[in-house]
Amino acid sequence: MPVIVARGLVKKYKDTLAVDNITFSIEEGEMFGFLGPNGAGKTTTMRMIQCVSPVTSGSLEIFGMDAMSHPREIKSHLGVVPQENNLDMDFTVYENLVVFSRYFDIPRDEAERRATELLEFVHLEDKKDTMTESLSGGMKRRLILARALINRPRMLILDEPTVGLDPQARHMIWDKLRALKKQGVTVVLTSHYLDEVEKLCDRLVVMDYGKILVEGSPSQVIREYVGSGIVEAEKDPELIRCLEMKEANYEVIGELVHVYTDNPKQIAEYLTMECSISKLSARPATLEDVFLKMTGRRLRE
């Protein structure tokens, strides 16, 4: 059963079209990733799902309810990790969780039990009485995750949960997300760490300029858009001629040439034997290749 169904979803700020007619659905228990360059419209989409930003047009149903008309019911089943940290800096770590639980009408003793449990879950027991200002970036992110879980949500919305974290902290967060998914929680996230998304998400979309360009499971989209392998070689007129002759699917990227293929070994052999190109390497294609191929390599402002 889908927990989110978006049809022709549009979001317009004054004069920016941030989300441009997107349609997608997310199944219960899935881990679903939104990828895309800066400004693609990921956060805007997350904020509409969280019912904090009104939908301009199209329909958005969450748990079978309309996002615009049932925000309270929907939000009571959501856990949210926003892109920007917004812990309550007037309170300690523990108080942050207890104060937050009141917004969900969780009774005091139950809230205290959950707060203790969640601090253990994200390994912050030792920081219980610290003011949030003096936490490190990684600790803040973990506390926000704990806070998002205080209402035992059916679905977690995470906007770049691992931004700015060291590899250890990142692994820990992903580990926790996997554990939550096992418990049946639907996880919707955005991230710029494509290798992680590739490993963890069941399905993903790549957005750019407010539109969905690519949709599917990681392996599916890699196969569909770049093939299973890539041969990388230095740019060279002879190489280009060879590739043209072979009608290979290739792309010139600065001083590099990427050849997209399902059979990298064969292409590599062909290039070495018949075109005497020696400097090349064959590797499996990754989500990053899909991402760059589909959204281009130009920097976004």
Partner: protein, 263 residues
Amino acid sequence: MRISEYFRLPKVSSKSYAVWQRNKDVFAKDIKLNFLPPFLEPLLYLVALGFGLGRFVESIDGVPYAKFIAPALISISVMYASFFECSYGSYVRMYYQKTFDAIIATPVTIEDVIAGELLWGATRSMVNATVMIPVIALFGLIDIRYALLIIPFAFLGGLLFGAIGMCFTAVTPNIMSINYPVLLFITPMFLFSGTFFPLNALPEPIQYFAIAFLPLTHIVNGIRLIGYGTLEPVILFDLAWIVVVCAVLLLLSINLMRKRLIV
């Protein structure tokens, strides 16, 4: 937005109590520091103005000067407490601390958040008045028969000034700009609302202006009548003015904040 939309009834729920509680908990953390100003300020003013300056002032309408300004001191504290709480205080929570963003990701709506903030502002006014009453009563400057009536009156006045502060929070481009309403509105009110000299010392047009447009005039008048123990029917006029203006500004402030924050 059409004009009528600025005054439509917002859907506020009991969840605003959780927002009120949040602010109360922060307040309680520094309770000693927070109680000091309402305790100390009337003492300082009473000594300097009431008993110092007051020796050179003849009684006003047959009332000693210290007794004349005592209700004004409470009124001014009512004004400052909720105005500052709902202007600078709310702005910091909204803009710098992102507290509102965090709260509206829960079943609490933005209308609940603002209502909670306004109720908290009014509570601060009420707390200040409550602390000041015994201090002033100790000097025998207040009729203690009706003194408890000042407390709900202070809450109502607090709501009014909280709503005024919140309207400015909703439209100010940055925190520095809140200085304008303070300088052009709050400070003149502090001086020209019948606080330290009676309104009828001013030219008549200014008197009418004060009665029509300066909220503090009505708070001072009301608290003064209660404080003197002379509850005349004219207090109903002040009360009515406050209730009507307060209701209008509460609606306006919540709708303006909604417009600012929901994009």
